[in-house]
């Protein structure tokens, strides 16, 4: 160990020993623990003393500790409530989001068209068994099938209705 290192170690040990004494309450003065007066050590001891003196008092009393505890629990409950309501709002927003998209002009038109086509198709499929394709009952109509015309007319009407009811931008 070189001389400066040795000095550094001695200084560190002496300051540590002084701080231990100071914080244990065994020294209240600028007590110098070094047998040889060392100005560097003295100023460091003084700094330690300043720290200890400035913050020595002021530990929270029982009432303060209890009050802080009440506030902490209250604030925690409040934040947890807010977190729950935020989760709930997020959930609701996730449901609302598709509806907003749905509400756009293009989507609404597309949906109307698809819904109408689906309705007409279902109507036609359901009506097929009842269609009289032989034309027996309406002889003299030169092979035409009036039920089919009615269905086509209904479909066209629905399409027209949807087209008219659509919202214009």
């Amino acid at each position: 160990m070189t001389n400066p290192e040795k000095n550094e170690k001695i200084l560190a040990d002496q300051l540590a020993a002084y701080t231990d004494l100071l914080l244990s309450g065994n020294t209240h003065d600028r007590e110098i623990t070094s047998p040889v007066p060392d100005p560097d050590l003295n100023t460091l001891q003084l700094t330690a003393l300043r720290l200890q003196t400035a913050f020595d008092s002021g530990e929270p009393d029982r009432a303060t500790i209890q009050r802080m505890h009440r506030n902490i629990i209250q604030e925690w409950h409040r934040l947890e409530q807010r977190k729950l309501s935020t989760i709930w709002q997020g959930l609701m927003a996730s449901f609302r989001a598709p509806r907003q998209k749905w509400a756009s002009q293009q989507s609404r038109q597309r949906f109307s068209l698809i819904a109408t086509l689906t309705a007409v198709t279902i109507l036609l499929v359901m009506a097929v068994p009842f269609l009289n394709t032989t034309g027996d009952e309406l002889a003299g109509t030169s092979g035409q099938h009036p039920s089919l015309y009615i269905l086509i007319a209904i479909g066209a009407l629905i399409l027209l209705a949807v087209w008219l009811m659509r919202r214009r931008p």
Partner: protein
């Protein structure tokens, strides 16, 4: 029958996460003074209570994510440091807060009290300008009253290195105080 006072911090955290609120009461009772004192060394007197409360509220909210990789006391200390940093970030009014402190002291009209408050302000200001490892070793010894052997284990150092770090930290503090004292 097991009393909470006999249970380790980490076990108390587990019990709290499982719904035992009493476990938090024990942790709070164990650490409130240490946290309060640490905060007091670096935050204006008028805000110490608020910041201490914020530390424990944050602890309550994040205890569920405590994995036990570090000791609870280390985790709480880190949380306290974050809250103090957040306090200064939020306000960005270090000087303003310290001036308010001084005004309060003057309003009391007590000369001794005013000079003590002024001294605290000077020391806080100096502590806050120190590098983190210097500030930490000083706070562990003064605010938490930890012995050097214990500080060495917390910092993963040998006691000699810790004492040397402490000496350098105190030198830096003294120099900063000297510079600040010379300023008008």
């Amino acid at each position: 029958m097991t009393f909470h006072s006999e249970i380790s911090d980490e076990q108390l955290v587990k019990e709290f996460v499982q719904g035992d609120q009493q476990a938090f009461e024990t942790l709070y009772a164990r650490y409130v003074r240490a946290v309060h004192k640490r905060v007091r060394y670096v935050v204006a007197d008028t805000d110490v209570e608020d910041v201490t409360q914020e530390v424990f509220v944050a602890a309550l909210r994040s205890l569920g994510s405590f994995r036990g990789e570090a000791r609870f006391s280390t985790w709480l200390r880190t949380l306290t440091n974050h809250k103090v940093a957040e306090y200064y970030r939020k306000r960005s009014r270090k000087k303003e807060t310290m001036q308010i402190d001084l005004i309060h002291a003057e309003q009391r009209g007590d000369q001794n009290s005013a000079s003590l408050w002024e001294e605290r302000i000077a020391l806080r200001r100096a502590l806050l300008t120190l590098p983190e490892q210097y500030r930490e070793v000083i706070l562990l010894r003064f605010a938490e009253g930890m012995q050097f052997n214990k500080i060495a284990s917390v910092l993963n150092q040998n006691p000699e290195a810790t004492k040397s770090l402490f000496r350098r930290a105190m030198s830096a503090l003294r120099n900063t105080l000297d510079v600040n004292d010379d300023q008008p």
